[in-house]
């Protein structure tokens, strides 16, 4: 009786594993493409700067939240997309960043600017400890271990009432005077998020970034080439944790509070969600995913109580039809590649292999 159930599960997991394991693919870039990409990024930055001046405060705050979550998603994608390490515990580091600011202010009157520097260090250190244990396992077991460790952090934040104020969270005037004006706060979040993105981009294009992707593709081969893969994946885990913490600090600028849900596994799930709908094959895809998630969340919640159902349907459609995410729609011939993918999905059975060789994926990449 159990047999058919097991095989169905297996079939699904086989379909999912290559999907979540896939990640950014690089090809040689022509100068015109490079110019287009640089132009696109500059245009995006100008647009975000202008938005900071012209948007009404409510929308500006949503955009500010989206920027903090974009930094969170990009930092998570260093593991998920580039490293092929699907962590379900990145919220722990995000929350640690937020709580560093809040608890520092609550207990020690710690300056926000100092917390901004310390938070990534704490996040990175905790990531080092968790990574040391979780990276001993692979795939599903790695995901489950990261989930378990982040839930441990969540429970600590929830239960240690005297230190963390428990489920109430920490709320109060923890921001410096210069960040009280929402437009200033927005510009600050934009600047730090952009700087974080730049550093993360530099890391992904460095020799370390290539080694990380190569290890994702073939771990045993990388070992045979003389690379201590565990050490490198641990370094990636620490870097990702540090940047997730930094994103957590940015989130405090938006929320002016820290609460246990920031460390909960659902928060980790949102990171994976943003990475998947935005596109883990591209550097800026997760940021796009964060934007879509935040605004959809905001506006859907105003109109329907079933907003989570709609977000779920969006995810379903993307996983089935556009595994390269919304960023894949920015490829020069999105409909042709989508049609080909549909054909691959329903025309023949060996869909996962046809996906990997789709040349259109590589051209749809953002810088």
């Amino acid at each position: 009786m159990n047999q058919p159930v097991r095989t169905t599960l297996q079939k699904h997991s086989e379909r999912l594993v290559p999907f979540v394991g896939r990640g950014p693919v690089d090809v040689h870039r022509r100068p015109r493409q490079v110019a287009l990409r640089v132009g696109g990024v500059v245009a995006l930055l100008v647009l975000l700067l202008v938005a900071g001046q012209v948007l009404d405060i409510a929308r500006l705050l949503t955009l500010e939240e989206a920027l903090a979550l974009a930094a969170f998603a990009m930092a998570s994608n260093l593991l998920i997309g580039y490293g092929g390490l699907v962590s379900f515990g990145q919220a722990a580091f995000f929350g640690i960043g937020s709580y560093t600011v809040a608890l520092g202010w609550l207990h020690w009157q710690l300056s926000f600017w100092l917390a901004l520097v310390i938070a990534p260090l704490i996040g990175g250190a905790v990531a080092g400890i968790i990574g040391l244990l979780a990276l001993r396992s692979r795939r599903l077991y790695f995901a489950l271990l990261t989930l378990a460790f982040s839930q441990l952090c969540y429970v600590l934040a929830q239960e240690r009432y005297t230190f963390t104020q428990g489920a109430n969270g920490v709320i109060g005037p923890m921001l410096p005077d210069s960040l009280i004006d929402p437009r200033h706060a927005y510009l600050f979040v934009l600047a730090v998020a952009a700087a974080a993105a730049l550093v993360l981009w530099k890391i992904t294009t460095s020799p370390f970034g290539l080694v990380l992707r190569a290890t994702r593709e073939n771990r045993e081969r990388m070992q045979a080439l003389g690379v201590n893969v565990f050490g490198h994946q641990l370094l990636a885990f620490v870097i990702s944790g540090a940047f997730c913490s930094l994103a957590g600090v940015l989130f405090v600028v938006y929320s002016q509070s820290a609460y246990p849900e920031l460390l909960d596994w659902t928060q980790s799930g949102y990171a994976v969600y943003m990475v998947v709908i935005g596109g883990m094959f591209t550097f800026l895809g997760p940021a796009l995913g964060a934007g879509v998630y935040t605004f959809a969340n905001q506006y859907l919640a105003q109109h329907t109580s079933d907003w989570q159902l709609i977000l779920g349907l969006i995810l379903l459609v993307i996983v089935l039809f556009r595994p390269d995410g919304l960023a894949g729609l920015l490829s020069p011939r999105p409909w042709r590649s989508a049609a080909r993918r549909l054909q691959a999905r329903f025309g023949q059975q060996e869909d996962s292999t046809t996906d990997t060789t789709d040349p259109d994926r590589t051209t749809g990449e953002l810088p």
Binding site: V27, K202, A224
Partner: protein
């Protein structure tokens, strides 16, 4: 010539099954050494022992004067022992050029470098290696779009990027066309003659084994049943009976 690699009493058991059984062998520096034997003779396990992917149950492995038995794979690789895999081991979704660049970065020990760009110091060398294995024109392709023979060539390029002293090739021409086999054999001979590399390979193709190897070790059920210069091994009665005899029988 001196022994670059020496295994003494090398044994590996999996539960009750002994895959490699007290193997003694020496690989001379600068030579081409073949390991042959029927399927299941323990060739692949022997190779995995030498490269550290499997830990020995008993016995010693000395490579270039140091004991490497039980060391971790990346430590052994750093000493100059590289391998090309029987089941092609490439990086499916990296480009051909990036794959070789990754291997060069691994050799240079720049794998933790986050400050430089990938291309700067590695592109020229990667191009030269790809030209050597005949993949110069394919450097922009994703590795998983290559033909089987070209993937094997890329696998070899990855091993060469480590500038090894000893190259282990597990059935280097399996699944290749006649032309690709010819090119691979020429390349192996050239690497040994010109670059002074030492090659240890396993192979089923007897024409290739007797065509290029100087020394041959014959494995059967995990044990060495013959070991020595190619001509001696060819004349050995046990080998004829156990291995070559089978091959002749199969052909008829």
């Amino acid at each position: 010539m001196t022994a670059l690699l020496r295994a003494t009493g090398l044994t590996r058991r999996f539960g009750g099954f002994t895959a490699v059984d007290h193997v003694d062998m020496e690989v001379q520096e600068g030579g081409i050494h073949a390991v042959i034997g029927p399927n299941g003779a323990g060739k692949t396990t022997l190779f995995r022992l030498l490269t550290g992917l499997v830990r020995p149950t008993e016995g010693r492995i000395v490579f270039a004067g140091s004991e490497i038995g039980g060391s971790r794979p990346h430590k052994i690789a750093r000493r100059g022992l590289a391998q090309s895999f029987q089941l092609t081991a490439i990086f499916p979704r990296l480009s051909v050029l990036e794959s070789v660049q990754a291997a060069i970065i691994a050799r240079q020990r720049h794998t933790r470098d986050v400050l430089h760009w990938t291309g700067r110091s590695t592109t020229a060398e990667a191009g030269a290696i790809l030209d050597r294995v005949g993949l110069g024109a394919a450097s922009g392709q994703l590795a998983n779009t290559l033909s089987h023979g070209d993937q094997r060539a890329l696998d070899l390029a990855l091993a060469l990027a480590g500038r090894p002293r000893l190259l282990l090739l597990d059935e280097p021409t399996a699944g290749m066309s006649i032309l690709e086999t010819r090119q691979t054999i020429d390349l192996i001979v050239d690497l040994v003659r010109t670059d002074g590399l030492t090659v240890l390979f396993s192979e089923h193709d007897m024409d290739m084994v007797f065509g290029i190897s100087e020394t041959i070790t014959v494995l059967h059920q995990g044990r060495v049943i013959a070991d020595g210069p190619a001509a001696t091994v060819r004349a050995d009665d046990d080998v004829m009976a156990i291995y070559l005899g089978n091959a002749v029988r199969e052909r008829n």
